[in-house]
Amino acid sequence: MSADTTALELQEVKGPSALGGGPRRFFDLLWLISVTEFKRVYFGTVLGYLWSLIRPLMLFGVLLFVFTHVLRAASTEVEHYPVMLLMGVVLYTFFQEATTNAVTSVVAQEGVVRKTQFPRLVIPAATVVTSFFNLVLNLVIVLAFVLAFGVTPAWTWFLFPVAVAFLFIGATGVAMALSALYVSFRDTAIIWIVLSQMLLYLTPILYPITIFKEEETLQHLLMFNPLAVIFEQVRVWVLHEPNAPTAVQAAGGWLGLLPAAVIFVGVCCFGAWFFNRAAPRIAEAL
């Protein structure tokens, strides 16, 4: 051993960081932690995976009842309203679960953060990946619904992963910002619960964006929300309804997508920057 230790070179130690230890170690750890956490939830309880399915399904059931029986206006103009609703609820559940779990994640892993050398970013990123595994399983159910409702498969289905990728990146950005913010400000958790609830209603999940076709400005304004762009495009790609506008149409042209793009990139960059800035000091701030 000492024969090759003599060849070791001194290397500067820069202290903790978001990605400390190189990308290889980062991805090894991210994968391992996400998988073990997922397995724990999946096999850890009797109902396991059912629980993570029940939540979106129950929300779906209630919303379906409300919007097909109570407030019929929203659902009548969509061909496959239940499918659109389920798809939206499942995707939004992923976003909400990933970000909400991420908020407290770094603080909850206090022991690890304070006592081991650990790339800090793994912690919030792992919550997003774990939620993503759930999403993949839930999407199988969605697929069954899509086919059961008689939606014919189309080549645009292959574009669906693109939308999911954007959602994943967005969730990671928000998760980074929130988890770092929560270290210093503990009411971040409460604020985010309220905000994410608001975001649910501001995204065309329960209603089609075309409900506002009389008030174009409002519709264009709603398309400032990057999630609205993603969800609207998913509806076009997967359900390919003739009367569903593409995101571009809903926003009133490519230029109308610019605010959403700016917000999306802005949130992701802010999340990355803020987390990276906070990472070296997280152990001390706890």
Partner: protein, 419 residues
């Protein structure tokens, strides 16, 4: 060791591995500074930040490390000692990349595995096997490397029958064993260890000790932070004493240990409160302990001479005065007593007079804390008894068994036997 040393000689032409000073550097620290900001009023909600945007900007600055520079050679077993708050844990966390330094430079050769606390990062909900994998990767191994070693880790921890049991069902001893085994298997070039030597039962401790010795002979660089002087002296080549964020001493471990104990007791012991007796015609004005040099102290090194001075004031005339002392250990058991009868031949014992008692004691006591009780008595009813008039500590680098530790000479002769 032998083979690798000869390899060194063949290829690099280096001196034997025992000459540590000529080996390459494993850790180099230059002028390291680290301070913490402790807010006087902590703002921990966004609401407060919005309502009082400027509140909580005031903070106290705590200098944990103040210009520390040192170098550790490859293959060295290096001890860091210091009292609580001396900055040793901060230093360890800086070396381990848990904190970021304010200024200064740390350079390390090779892979480093920190063990600030055994078993952090263990997940109670996962099995031993899964935790070994997770912890191994956290320490910088690839998942493949860990899988190859998984069985030997579990065997070393003597947990073969429990490998697939969830950690929450483990006893604390089992946890510690598992954590220690993971650490040994990590195969890092530099190990940072924070007081984890005293783990497990006796047989496992022996295993750990063997493992440390093996690491030593394998030429691994080990940094050990501890309070336990015995392990510093047993394992370390060199040791460093930190005090108030600065290096107080660096070099011989035995000397570092002595300095540490001195520091510990000279500043640390407050005198146990004595009851000052004023009733019954006599009062104790002052009592103090001094070392041979006449300085007032309350900590003595093993075998160091004690000097006791007590000043008494009389309120009534007495024919003779009996002054006695009892030294008791922390359990209240009397160790020995001594005293003096002050009579007319020493001077007149009138009201308002003073009696100064001065005793020199050859100190045979073992290490520990002791109390001095003082009794003063005269025939005509004048009497006081001051419980815990003084207390002091006897310290030494070796922990002694028994209550006394007298000087002794011992020798052995060996005769006969076959060649």
């Amino acid at each position: 060791m032998m083979s690798s040393t000869s390899l060194d000689n063949l290829h690099v032409g280096q001196a034997p591995a025992t000459a540590t000073s000529e080996r390459p550097t494993a850790i180099q620290v230059e002028d390291l500074h680290k301070s913490f900001h402790i807010p006087t009023h902590r703002v921990d909600s966004l609401k407060e930040r919005v309502v009082h945007p400027f509140a909580g900007r005031e903070y106290r600055e705590l200098h944990a490390l103040d210009g520390v520079s040192f170098e550790i050679k490859q293959g060295e077993f290096f001890g860091i000692v210091g009292r609580n708050g001396s900055g040793k844990s901060t230093l360890l966390k800086l070396l381990a990349s848990i904190y970021r330094a304010d200024s200064g430079r740390i350079r390390i050769a090779g892979r480093l595995a920190p063990f600030i606390e055994l078993g952090v990062g263990f997940n109670q909900e996962l099995t031993a096997r899964e935790n070994v994998l997770l912890n191994g990767v956290m320490m910088g191994l690839t998942p493949k490397e860990v899988r190859e070693r998984q069985d030997s880790v579990i065997d070393f921890a003597e947990l073969h029958d429990f490998a697939d049991l969830k950690l929450k069902n483990f006893s604390s001893g089992m946890l510690v064993r598992l954590a220690f085994s993971v650490m040994l298997e990590a195969d890092a070039d530099v190990l940072l260890i924070d007081e984890v030597l005293a783990v497990g039962d006796a047989s496992f401790q022996q295993k750990c000790a063997d493992a440390f010795h093996q690491m030593k002979t394998e030429g691994k660089t080990i940094v050990l932070v501890t309070h336990e002087m015995a392990s510093v002296e047993a394992y370390c080549h060199r040791a460093m004493l930190l005090a108030d964020g600065q290096i107080q001493y660096i070099g011989d471990p035995a000397e570092a240990g002595r300095e540490y104990l001195k520091l510990n007791f000279e500043a640390g012991v407050e005198e146990a409160p004595g009851e000052q007796g004023e009733s019954r015609g006599v009062r104790m004005l002052d009592s103090r302990l001094e070392n041979a040099g006449g300085e007032k102290v309350n900590a003595f090194e093993l075998g160091e001479m004690l000097r006791l001075r007590v000043d008494l004031e009389l309120f009534r005339e007495v024919p003779t005065l009996n002054v006695g002392f009892l030294i008791a250990n922390a359990d209240g058991v009397g160790m020995f007593q001594f005293g003096i009868i002050v009579g007319p031949e020493d001077g007149d014992l009138r009201a308002g007079g003073r009696v100064n008692v001065d005793a020199e004691i050859q100190n045979p006591l073992a290490t520990g804390r002791y109390f001095i009780h003082c009794g003063v008595q005269a025939d005509n009813g004048v009497s006081i008894y001051v419980q815990n008039a003084l207390s002091f500590v006897v310290f030494g680098t070796q922990h002694t068994q028994g209550v006394i530790s007298p000087e002794f000479e011992i020798k052995a002769d060996v005769e006969g036997g076959e060649a």
